[in-house]
Symmetry: C2
Subunit: 391 residues, 2 copies
């Protein structure tokens, strides 16, 4: 059975051209880039070239990139760095719909005695920016707002919020793990101080992330050890993955237009076909201001887990919420924050596409998913109850 | 020119059989192991198998393994976890010869208000265990002692120290990054609470490490995010590298005897040949109680950097001190702690072998290195001064 992979916000296929570039760095050019000999030194040069490629994708300078092991480490580093750099300030401002990498950390910070403001969103997942502005105070060490929501794809006005934070002398961080590679980003002109990204969300390998830290931003290392990353992150450089991430940055940059035309059109085709063929189905999240690859659809009166299982039987991969929260039976905190009713939140499915998806795959899903929903609804007491009420 | 790689304590060649095992996890089995669909779920199964392999190398249970991104992260996690778990205790006991991953962190902890005891070593690099025991107090949150020194290869009696710590109710951690894969380790019977290891030191990939945490040990996560690693370390699993580390664990286990016979014999052959051909050359560190692959030799009255440069001209890779401290012109903190005189510490070279080294390579070094030392000494004012004094 062919796999139809529509779960690219969980992780992506490493582009074969990325793997090809990584390969020599395992068993041939395996030297430690910090070593004194040229066998290691030549690897150091390749890392510098990869850093320039990644910086290029963001409109950043190479020295503003710190390699980390993942988006979670980037997020932890950014927020901890701001707190360490401003020990007198005890408040963090973030949103109610962040990824667990920020959300769990912020909940932990509350236990450590910090004050955390979780800014609400409306029914469409749009951020209450006025609420955010009202809650920035002289005690705020950092404002951390995601660029694109991983579940709904909704985009937040992070550049505007970053400017507002800067005016108040507050550091601004964005978890841009879902945005980088999908929408054009140029940090050079803006006010964003720190930005997190993850290799495996943009057709690079797992186990590599980066934190952009604007020149001049107060910083304090999170992983403390050797002098790597100009003393900002200890640990031997993950050479192959850094090289791979550089190539992946080129890859997504080369395909940025395709992502925002062909992939977006596939997403729209999937969404409109499903909405027209399935009753009581609605899109979660502002349809006008979303990532081009994401569609989160609530199929009312059915269980998301059951839909996923039955889709899995047809080789279709999607998700209900974040892979980082799976295993939990609670409905998504993102959809709850948006006020999506229980009966809809539980049956919400995230479809997230990539450059590798084809029209045939979308048509296959459009053919097989509506009967699945139909069958599940026939078995659902909620559905029967709803039908009786309507009738 | 052929590369003769004698810098395996800095990093190792990824075994080709390890790379082969990793390869499918980039562009084929790329699913997120936390995903609900079987495309991701099957990867989760492979991770469980890899975890069992790594646990097997250590005599540990699979659930006692937490994957991290590197040895540095493992060390930071262990020490921070012990401090978080024992907030009333404000002292850390460690040694004066730790790797920067522990040393820099401990120096940082002093700035945070913790009290750190750095236990001294003698002229042979042997730990002053009595001093250590005398400095364990009711205020000690953790004792962290490396298993094998990365520069000299000297082994510390960590199992004995762990038992002493346990008797006093103190957590014990060992940075075993250099020991794992080179000497047999069985944690099941002992008293070690936490152990750090790194994939790239044992023919696995860079960017993956592990922290062993004995069942029942109080623990608090360092990287806070998703539910991965049973809630003990957030961040998407580094699938390919985890699979690779599992295979590497098998690889070094299969070659453990060879490491301690053939590789050790090569190291001894190199060492004795150099000592017999070069005057004023001495081994740094207890020759009786060392890793089988490491030889640290002081060539008095010459600069280590110059030796490395000239060896590099012959394709020979070695190091002066740790790659993680390179770039610094200070002589090694390990050799200074041992009281190695300045004129000897500055000309100390670490040779660290691996399973891939051959007799021919060793003979090549024995042929080319003595003339290099000779030439450098002819140019050295210290050498001329020393000769005049002797004459």
């Amino acid at each position: 059975m062919k796999t139809i992979y529509l779960d690219n916000n969980a992780t992506t296929r490493v582009a074969p051209e990325v793997v090809e570039e990584m390969l020599p760095y395992f068993s041939e050019r395996y030297g430690n880039p910090s070593s004194m000999h040229s066998f290691g030194g030549q690897v150091g040069k390749e890392i510098r070239a990869a850093r320039e490629k990644l910086a290029g994708l963001l409109g950043a300078r190479p020295e503003e990139i710190i390699y980390t092991s993942c988006g979670t480490e980037s997020d932890n580093t950014a927020i901890r760095a701001a707190l360490a750099a401003n020990p007198g300030r005890r408040q963090v401002v973030t949103t109610r719909v962040e990824h667990p990498a920020v959300k769990s950390l912020c909940e932990h910070l509350v236990k450590e005695g910090y004050r955390v403001t979780f800014v609400p969103v409306d029914r469409s997942g749009r951020l209450d920016v006025d609420y955010l502005y009202e809650h920035m105070t002289e005690d705020t060490a950092i404002v951390s707002v995601m660029w694109a929501n991983n579940e709904t794809g909704v985009l937040f006005p992070v550049e505007q919020i970053a400017r507002a934070a800067k005016e108040r002398g507050i550091a601004f961080h964005t978890d841009a793990v879902q945005a980088v590679g999908k929408i054009p980003i140029d940090l050079s002109a803006g006010a964003i101080d720190m930005l997190s990204l993850s290799g495996h969300k943009l057709h690079g390998p797992k186990g590599i992330g980066a934190l952009y830290v604007r020149k001049g931003t107060k910083f304090s290392p999170f992983l403390i050890g050797g002098h790597q990353e100009s003393g900002r992150r200890g640990g031997t450089e993950n050479t192959a993955a850094i090289i791979g991430l550089g190539r992946a940055a080129e890859f997504v940059s080369d395909h940025m237009e395709e992502e925002n035309t062909r992939v977006k059109a596939l997403r729209d085709r999937l969404e409109s076909a499903l909405l027209s063929r399935v009753t009581h189905a609605v899109v979660n999240g502002d349809p006008e201001n979303r990532l081009p690859n994401t569609s989160n659809i609530a199929f009312e009166f059915v269980e998301g887990e059951s839909i996923l299982l039955m889709m899995d039987g047809h080789g279709i991969c999607a998700s209900s919420g974040s892979a980082c929260t799976s295993g939990s039976l609670e409905p998504s905190h993102v959809l709850r924050a948006m006020g999506v009713p229980y009966t809809a939140a539980h049956g919400s499915i995230r479809f997230s596409l990539s450059l590798y998806n084809t029209e045939e795959e979308i048509d296959y899903v459009v053919e097989h998913l509506p009967p699945i929903i139909e069958r599940l609804r026939q078995m659902s007491p909620f559905w029967q109850h709803a039908c009786e009420k309507t009738a």
